[in-house]
């Protein structure tokens, strides 16, 4: 039920209009961080205030919304944001990636391939990929303007010098359409190859930092690397213990005090779908005959 005290999807129309303009500009200049007047949202910073505002600006009453947090549909962040939009927008919600028209995500890209017409909204804590190397905002803007991205490789150089390989495993920097270097939000680098040439629209919202950026469909997105240390999309070298999938990104779960652990798909919808289709993993419960 829509809570009648609020406008559709919580934000007032002028605010949504302002956010949509930022989104359109972001789509027109892929990877460029567009400043926008981020609003206070009824949830703390760090919980996805940027993503929520972008989702609110995109939603129509016909949309079907899916919200995931680290791939899961049933964690606090996902549940509370989903309930928020159920209450303020009255849109249909789903856990199925295929059914959803708008997917708000925290730190994952769903395993199931996305299609045209879908919108993937990322929650971004720190939109500036150069921030930890260059703390001055005026300077990083200048570096983006002049395409001075050598510093990004200094970070990768440090990784190899210290760990023998590029140890950055999430928020791995990418170059969009050969122009802007972009922080893909803290998704695992396993997901980086899915950013490029994706049929869906990808929008990134950073509420506290007041930035929106976007990757339009079928855009070239390249993960930065060295000629002699190429980018590798890594994952835990295991199969899912519940559905047996060997190509999905896995969470490691400690299950007892004796060092026991299991690996399960981080994408709960993907895993449940496979289990329903009869796939079994190492720790699946015994088949009921």
């Amino acid at each position: 039920m829509t809570d009648q005290a609020y406008n559709f999807a919580y934000l007032d129309e002028q605010t949504k209009r302002m956010i949509r303009r930022a989104i359109l500009k972001g789509l027109a200049v892929p990877g460029y961080q567009v400043p926008f007047a981020s609003r206070e949202m009824p949830m703390p910073y760090g919980w996805g205030t940027g993503g929520v505002q972008v989702t609110a600006a995109c939603l129509t009453p016909e949309d079907v919304l899916k919200v995931i947090d680290q791939g899961a549909d049933d964690t606090t962040n996902a549940v509370s944001i989903r309930k928020f939009f159920q209450r303020t927008a009255g849109v249909r919600v789903t856990e199925s990636t295929g059914e959803a028209s708008v997917i708000q995500t925290r730190h994952r890209i769903p395993e199931a391939p996305l299609r045209e017409g879908q919108i993937l909204v990322y929650q971004v804590p720190i939109p500036e990929p150069l921030r930890f190397l260059e703390p001055r905002e005026a300077e990083t803007r200048k570096m983006h303007e002049l395409e001075e991205y050598g510093l990004m490789h200094v970070k990768l150089y440090e990784d190899i010098a210290r760990h023998g390989e590029i140890a950055t495993s999430y928020a791995y920097p990418v170059k969009v359409e050969g122009r802007y270097v972009m922080d893909p939000s803290p998704i695992p680098k396993f997901d980086n190859p899915k950013l490029g040439d994706c049929p869906a629209i990808q929008l990134f919202g950073a509420g506290r930092e007041q930035r929106i950026y976007a990757v339009p469909p079928y855009t070239q997105v390249v993960s930065l690397d060295f000629d002699d240390h190429p980018f590798v999309a890594s994952k835990a070298p295991h199969d899912c213990d519940l559905c047996g999938a060997d190509e999905s990104y896995l969470d490691e779960v400690i299950i007892d005090d004796a060092g026991g652990r299991m690996f399960v798909c981080s994408d709960t919808d993907f895993c449940a779908g496979r289990q329903a289709a009869g796939h079994r993993g190492r720790l699946s419960p015994a088949e009921v005959v």
């Binding site: 190397l133 001075e148 490789h153 200094v154 150089y157 440090e158 010098a161 210290r162 000629d227 240390h229």
Partner: protein
């Protein structure tokens, strides 16, 4: 004389950096006023003067860190002040180098020595880790930093090592023009001597043109071919280093030269 040789001779006759009537004011106060000089390829020019005489202001204007109010700066026939910022920044990480007085200003303290040296290479497009590391190791050797310190951060280095690292970081892309702001400031005398020795060798081997700002007359005596003496933002005397130091004409220069403590 061959044609190529004649061309080279002609190139050497052209000033690398030409400055005319450079003036920088801080409100009503004068930073530096009406400074003009030419710097030729391979030449080392010293700028001396007391604190507040406008040396560093002049250097910052030349390197593009400050925008002068009047005057012209021409580098290799190109007007530096009219240049687009993109081009000037590209110059400043390829053909120019700037050695800060405090190595902490010129180094990235959170990045290893190898990364510090490699940054300029990566900034101009080097994308091969092995080659970048090789160049970094080579340059650390040239500034006498042990090869096993390549992965240490500059914060673990002594002051003299930090300064040498800063020099390596600046020279790795083979610049033609180096700006140095008090490169030996804050170092003890024996470390200073080694650093000067190193600098003199590098300047000669690489054929660098250098503008070196200092208040230490011994430094210019060792390094500089020509000397410019500044006071209150104006140039009071300039000429060959030995000539200016041995036979100072201006009253202020005489005072400066006679103020040096004799040991």
């Amino acid at each position: 004389m061959g044609v190529v040789e004649a061309d080279m001779r002609a190139a050497l006759d052209q000033p690398l950096l030409s400055v005319t009537g450079l003036t920088k004011r801080y409100g009503a106060r004068i930073g530096c006023s009406d400074v003009s000089f030419d710097l030729f390829p391979g030449e080392v020019m010293g700028i001396v003067g007391e604190s507040g005489s406008g040396k560093s202001t002049l250097l910052s204007c030349l390197a593009g860190h400050l925008v002068p109010d009047e005057g012209q700066v021409t580098y290799s026939g190109r007007d530096v002040l009219a240049m687009a910022e993109t081009e000037r920044r590209r110059l400043s990480r390829t053909e120019w180098a700037y050695v800060h007085q405090n190595p902490r200003d010129g180094l990235r303290m959170g990045v290893s020595a190898g990364g510090n040296v490699g940054e300029r290479l990566m900034a101009v497009g080097a994308r091969h880790y092995g080659e970048i590391r090789g160049a970094a190791a080579d340059w650390l050797g040239r500034v006498e930093i042990a090869a096993d310190r390549i992965d240490d951060r500059p914060s673990a280095f002594s002051g003299g090592m930090q300064q040498r690292l800063q020099i390596a970081r600046n020279l790795v892309t083979g610049p033609r023009l180096v700006f140095m702001d008090e490169p030996t400031g804050g170092l003890d005398v024996s470390v200073q001597a080694r650093l000067l020795d190193l600098l003199r060798g590098l300047v000669r081997d690489m054929g660098l043109s250098v503008i070196i700002v200092t208040h230490d007359l011994a430094v210019v005596r060792l390094l500089a071919d020509r000397l410019m003496v500044m006071k209150g933002g104006r140039v009071v005397e300039q000429g060959l280093t030995d000539q200016v130091l041995d036979d100072p004409q201006d009253a202020y220069t005489q005072l400066l030269v006679s103020s040096v403590l004799q040991v």
